[in-house]
Symmetry: C2
Subunit: 242 residues, 2 copies
DNA sequence: ACAAAAGTGTTACTAATACACCCATGC
DNA sequence: GCATGGGTGTATTAGTAACACTTTTGT
């Protein structure tokens, strides 16, 4: 009625990137990088990193490229979040449908992420007013991360190859924002059989040296999309019947 | 290297529609409607109902339109499934990114769905070779339906406003393809507090007349996307603290 | 009375939780 | 020794699952 949109909807890829980093007070916090918009609409506002999809590029590759271009890092976990296509989500005439991914990057590397005036990291629970519907997107990504952490094995996306159970538990505690019983945590994780002890220990702390663990790579992650989920299910049913 | 794709990726919406219907043998089965392709590529092959996104139309509206156009029905449950964008998924030159939804329609209505030579219903566990990557999509939709049934309240998407516990259990048994203990099923569903007895009973069967139930509409469905999920979480936390 | 499905009760097993306690190391 | 975090044991509780049993209808 008011005005018609003639052009076909445009397609863009955006990525919500999570990492555990030191905030201003020195506490390790769940943070994500945002970029400042350099043109209208929403000029000057913070927004999710993103851009158009290259002609021969897969959707997940475009998301990984977003990640690389804004942080200089490689994703340790990457999953499609949702496609946002409300006609009213962009305020101007041209309609944009965004396919959004969410990613985890290794905490130790995240500290060395490239810095620039256009890119800034924000604590996940302290996000400013963003461009478009990006606040909604970040909230949903946060919900998905927290939900998935409790039933899946995504946590190691924040960690390196080898880690102690305390480090793993710390990831859970920071993301879920609540303390966890260390005894029960150990048993729950061990019962899931997703980790394997390397046999090595970490000395140097003024306490009993902890064991190092790796994730069992023969088990796939659950529900990382339609392509991997099937093989994960097959693998599980095979092992359980045997 | 071999050939370049210059045009921007096109956007399409497809929908996996589930209903419980009588199959050829007279058994109630999980089925879905497919349409026969009337042009290249994959001319003559069966494919998911779908088409382009109208300029001013929301993504879910386009999916509901797919559903209406192929079955003449309204969705009782509709949720985004995934965005498929592999550059190689379409065999010809022009690239199509499909945002796929999945839907449930009421079983009683599904029997009266419009019939045509181009639309045919197939049992979910007996799907022919489909066009493009549609077999993968159907498999993923099936996985999502079965997974979601076990922790969510989607089952009533197959049923009318009022139903008996046996009818509800039958839905679970058909979709999950395994028998369920009626006593435990009753207790599990009652414990979830998602259903409310209407006080009415169904007479006529040569057995004790069962109670009729409705779904509690004050509780939202979980994770029907980023828009509803937030309100569902808020509602739950409010009721639990009180 | 009998069949058939509704609905209840009981028991065993398994997973989640809380918390007390012991272990190994650096200082 | 003692502080610190690593790691174990145990009792309680809540949820799952298996299955025997009683209830109410139509024929």
């Amino acid at each position: 009625m008011t005005h018609r949109v003639a052009a076909p909807p445009q397609l863009a890829i955006s990525t919500v990137i999570f990492a555990l980093r030191q905030d201003a007070a020195g506490n390790t916090t769940l943070m994500l990088p945002l970029v400042q918009r350099i043109r209208e609409p929403h000029l000057g506002d913070w927004a999710l990193p993103g851009g158009p999809l290259n002609a021969t590029e897969d959707l997940s590759d475009a998301a990984a490229r977003n990640l690389r271009e804004t942080t200089g890092l490689e994703p340790r976990y990457l999953e499609q979040l949702y496609a946002f296509g409300d006609p009213a989500r962009s305020s101007n005439e041209e309609r944009v449908v965004s396919i959004v991914y969410w990613a985890l990057v290794e905490s130790s590397e995240a500290d060395q992420a490239i810095q620039s005036r256009n890119v800034q990291w924000f604590a996940a629970d302290c996000i400013p007013n963003l461009a478009f519907d990006h606040n909604l997107i970040v909230e949903y990504a946060l919900w998905r991360l927290r939900t998935k952490l409790s039933y899946s094995r995504v946590a190691h996306g924040f960690l390196g190859e080898e880690f102690t159970l305390s480090q793993l538990r710390e990831v859970y505690e920071i993301v879920l924002q609540k303390p966890l019983d260390k005894a029960n945590f150990r048993r729950t994780i061990e019962a899931s059989k997703s980790i394997v002890p390397t046999g090595q220990r970490v000395s140097g702390g003024s306490h009993r040296p902890p064991q190092l663990y790796t994730y069992d790579k023969t088990l796939n992650l659950t529900d990382q999309g339609p392509l991997t989920s099937k093989s994960a299910i097959r693998h599980n049913s095979e092992t359980s019947t045997k």
